[in-house]
């Protein structure tokens, strides 16, 4: 098949970007979307043109590295990661527009590559259970009802790709943050710190410049892992409960 690609090109964080158009012929329907870009890139290199930079690694839909905004949707037309998207999803002759994630908190590094370190900083602010290595109880000492464990697992499957932010008109990170808060709020291991955790993570989220949530649920609709917005509701409850007995929480350096 034949496609025309409209791709966002941007030299670096400081330079202004623009769309460039590339026609591409002999695209196999069995190719993954990223393999199609590989083919384009190798022809660009042969012509002496700078290849298109995009993030990817596992190409199995689990590392969360790939992050393309295709035809106005994060990861493209299917609810999957773009590395798991195949060209058979598109039709012959189609024009495909490819952009980076667009969010103030995710500045563009080059072409389609963005800086998502804000997500890491949110996790660093409280996304953990404070246990040291060793000296922990036997794994079966605390039974956890299967239903609760499964729900925690559903929240824990987030791959941290940022599609939720890219999908949201406010560039809110609520789905991402609430998934972690939920996982630990549900499990007995996470209970002792649940109050501080939600407060710190929300504070860091705000500090990073993510927008607020206005319940459009675009995040859930586009999440490749199907993380549910019920996590956001849970986080709001956690936050409310925590703020009822609030005290000042320093942002950094209080991991213990």
């Amino acid at each position: 098949m034949k496609v025309t690609l409209k791709v966002w090109r941007q030299k670096d964080a400081k330079t202004k970007g623009a769309f460039a158009t590339y026609p591409l012929d002999h695209v196999s329907t069995d190719m993954s979307f990223l393999e199609m870009l590989d083919v384009l890139n190798s022809s660009l290199i042969q012509k002496g043109e700078d290849p298109i930079h995009f993030d990817h690694d596992c190409r199995e839909g689990i590392c969360g590295m790939c992050s393309l905004y295709i035809n106005g949707r994060p990861h493209g037309p299917l609810q999957t990661t773009v590395c798991q998207l195949h060209m058979r999803t598109f039709h012959d002759g189609e024009t495909i527009t490819i952009e980076p994630w667009r969010a103030k908190a995710f500045p563009v590094i080059k072409d389609l590559v963005v800086d998502r370190s804000a997500f890491d900083r949110i996790q660093q602010s409280g996304g953990y259970v404070s246990v040291n290595t060793g000296g922990v109880p036997d794994a079966n000492a605390i039974p956890i009802p299967k239903k609760i464990a499964d729900e925690a697992f559903d929240a824990a499957t987030c791959i941290g790709c940022g599609a939720c932010v890219a999908a949201c008109k406010n560039a809110s990170a609520m789905l991402f943050v609430s998934a972690k808060v939920s996982q630990f709020a549900l499990l007995p291991q996470g209970k002792p710190e649940r109050k501080e955790r939600v407060e710190k993570m929300v504070a860091q989220m705000d500090a990073e410049g993510f927008g607020s949530c206005t319940n459009t649920k675009a995040c859930e609709a586009e999440c490749p892992k199907g993380i549910s917005v019920t996590n956001i509701a849970r986080m709001n409850r956690e936050y409310f409960a925590a703020s009822l007995s609030s005290y000042e929480v320093p942002l950094k350096g209080s991991g213990d």
Binding site: S42, G134, F153, G253, D256
Partner: protein, 641 residues
């Protein structure tokens, strides 16, 4: 050079306990005076960095992705073994030890493997305490499954995403230490050299992949936790960025490379669909519990899955069931892989490329109903359909073996230290515990064992012995020299401006490795491969085209540096395979087979670790042998008939 494995004296089951007691301790007040570099933040690196920081050491951690959460450990699906015996089905530390030694075809150290089995139980406790949501039963306790032909149910899992959940656990422990200021994290940063002075590892040289800045970092010890080198085959189940660079640089600075030719081939991967293929996707081998593997009895080139249903039973060859009646489709990975390749070599492969065999669920669906099969394998079937466009409920799947893991790696002693003092290797990057073949669910166990429970003890001993003042600053000439070496190499890569892309070279190398140094090897083929690799390497350095500059995000430059290293490693793998003229583990050496055509191991000649010493560019490496001593297991030939 004499290889000292530093295996402690005494009975097997007491070695680790005694050793821990004999190791020197660093005074708690002095720990903060030590700096440790951890390269890699996968299961091995993240667990090590977090645990060492908890003890009070100052840690710098590096990874090439934009976040530690994306290390390739994330992709592990099946599960992690532990000798908990929660099932009451006769498991024990000794049984896990025994199975792992046997599974590795008697090419691993008894003492290391026993320690691995001992600490396996602590890993599960640790992960649960971190909030890792393992699968549970209705009573609220942890669930287990039997994995990869094991006779006991000792595998803990988190749906099909065990690696993800374990890594996110280690990542959270790492995050806590970053927040405490004990770990400084460098993402999108690639290690490009190790610095050694007075025979000790003193630090590393890195490149900031966004700005191109090349930097020196010094420390009291350097831990290489950079994963495996399956990508030398171009197509593998590894992530695109997985590389040997860190380990290879260490090797060139004096660290021996152990058993480089030992790689694992996984039988149930989705076959290649065309020249555009960039990687291979693994499907859990649990599929073989219900799927039947077959090819047509006589060649039918281009046979499609949807036409397979028209082939009558009498014209099908269920070759695993036929050749191995007692294990059938559940023979170990290497046997299943080799037989699939053999069927394709005979021209009986199916699909457009002829490089695939069927994995058929028709009988299972008839027997148990579609619902049951869907409950067991639904997500795998969906994944298969997404990638291939075929529906496995209606027509058989097609599968083919792919490179999946590398047992070889930097040679380390019992303390996980390479032969270069102060330089350690953990996780898949070392050669230590899997021998010639890795059993399912044992790599996750090893990575976390190394990071959480071994290195915190053994590193302390080294640091206590050298003392905190034994450190070299980045102003030392050795750092300057290494930094210049790295810059020169980058400039060289950028200046060639040849005609072929990096990927073209990588593909060619991969094909050669797969053809001659994959599952089945012969002296003649290996010699051919050696010549081809040498030619390809020479061509690379005169004809590769790397555009752009160093001072920017330049993914082609990153790839070029990695492929340059693969082109050197490939030759060493071939040399190692040439030297090991026995069939062993995952590898079939055509010259070494039984009269029935099965693998013939040669314990009298090859019960050793092959550790290779670098001698300089384009010089043959020198082989050192670490003899393996078996006092607790009897060496038997594997038989699955």
């Amino acid at each position: 050079m004499k290889l000292d494995s530093k295996i402690p004296e005494g009975p097997l089951a007491e070695k680790w306990t005694k050793h821990k007691f004999n190791l020197k301790l660093v005074n708690p007040a002095n720990k903060r005076k030590y700096e440790v570099i951890v390269v890699g933040t996968g299961l091995a690196g993240a667990s090590a960095a977090a645990s060492l920081a908890e003890l009070g050491y100052n840690v710098k951690a590096f990874c090439y992705q934009d976040s530690p959460r994306r290390a390739h450990s994330i992709a592990a699906q099946g599960g992690i073994n532990a000798a908990k015996n929660y099932r009451n089905d006769g498991d024990s530390v000794f049984r896990l030890f025994y199975d792992t030694i046997k599974g590795g075809d008697y090419r691993a150290r008894e003492a290391n493997v026993h320690r691995l089995a001992e600490v396996s139980v602590d890993i599960i406790d640790q992960c649960v305490a971190q909030g890792v949501p393992f699968a549970r039963e209705y009573g609220g306790l942890l669930d287990n499954r039997s994995f990869g032909g094991a006779q006991v149910s000792r595998t803990f899992y988190a749906r099909g995403q065990t690696g993800q959940q374990l890594l996110l656990g280690a990542y959270s422990a790492l995050n806590r230490q970053i927040s405490n200021g004990k770990v400084k994290l460098y993402t999108r940063t690639e290690m490009l050299d190790v610095v050694v002075t007075d025979g000790k590892a003193r630090g590393i040289i890195t490149r900031d992949m966004v700005t191109g800045k090349i930097e020196s970092h010094s420390a009291h010890a350097v831990l290489i936790c950079t994963g495996g080198y399956s990508n030398v085959f171009f197509l593998s189940t590894s992530a695109k960025g997985c590389n040997v660079t860190a380990a290879w640089r260490a090797h060139k600075k004096g660290a021996l490379f152990g058993n480089p030719c030992f790689t694992q081939i996984h039988p149930t991967c989705i076959p290649v669909s065309g020249d555009h293929q960039s990687k291979l996707t693994l499907m859990s081998e649990s599929l073989r519990n219900d799927g039947r593997v077959w090819v047509p009895k006589t060649a039918r080139p281009g046979l499609k899955a949807k036409d397979a249903m028209n082939i009558p039973e009498a014209e099908r060859d269920y070759f695993l069931e036929r050749k191995y009646p007692s294990f059938g489709n559940l023979v170990p990975r290497d046997v299943a892989s080799r037989n699939a390749k053999q069927a394709c070599d005979e021209g009986r492969g199916v699909g457009a490329t002829g490089l695939a065999v069927f994995l058929d669920f028709t009988d299972a669906i008839k027997r148990d109903g579609r619902k049951t099969i869907e409950a067991k394998y639904g997500n795998l079937f969906d994944m298969y359909q997404q990638i291939t466009g075929d529906n496995p409920y209606e027509a058989p799947m097609m599968i083919f073996p792919a490179v999946h893991y590398t047992m070889g790696g930097l040679w380390v002693d019992y303390n996980l230290m390479t032969n270069v003092p102060g330089l350690y290797a953990l996780g898949e990057a070392n050669f230590s515990d899997h021998g010639a073949n890795r059993l399912g669910a044992s790599a996750l166990m090893q990575g976390l064992a190394d990071g959480y429970f071994v290195i915190p003890y053994t590193l302390g001993d080294y640091l206590a012995n050298i003392g905190w003042s034994d450190k070299v600053g980045t102003d030392h000439p050795a750092f300057k020299e290494a930094l210049e070496g790295v810059s020169n190499r980058i400039n060289k890569l950028l200046s060639i401006k040849g005609k072929k892309t990096v990927d073209q070279f990588h593909r060619e190398l991969g094909l050669t490795m797969w053809e001659y140094c994959g599952m089945s090897r012969s002296e003649e083929g290996l010699k051919k491969a050696k010549k081809k690799i040498q030619e390809l390497r020479a061509e690379f350095w005169s004809n590769v085209n790397v555009l752009g500059s160093n001072n920017e995000l330049n993914q082609e430059l990153e790839k070029a540096g990695r492929v340059a290293d693969f082109l050197e490693l490939g030759e060493l793998m071939v040399d190692d395979a040439l030297n090991r003229s026995e069939s062993c583990g995952g590898h079939f050496r055509e010259e070494s087979q039984t009269p029935e055509g099965e693998a013939l191991r040669q314990d009298d000649k090859f019960a050793y670790v092959a550790a290779w010493e670098y001698q300089g560019d384009n010089q043959p490496e020198v082989l050192h042998k670490e003899e393996l001593v078996f006092e607790n297991v009897k060496l038997t030939q594997r038989s699955y008939k």
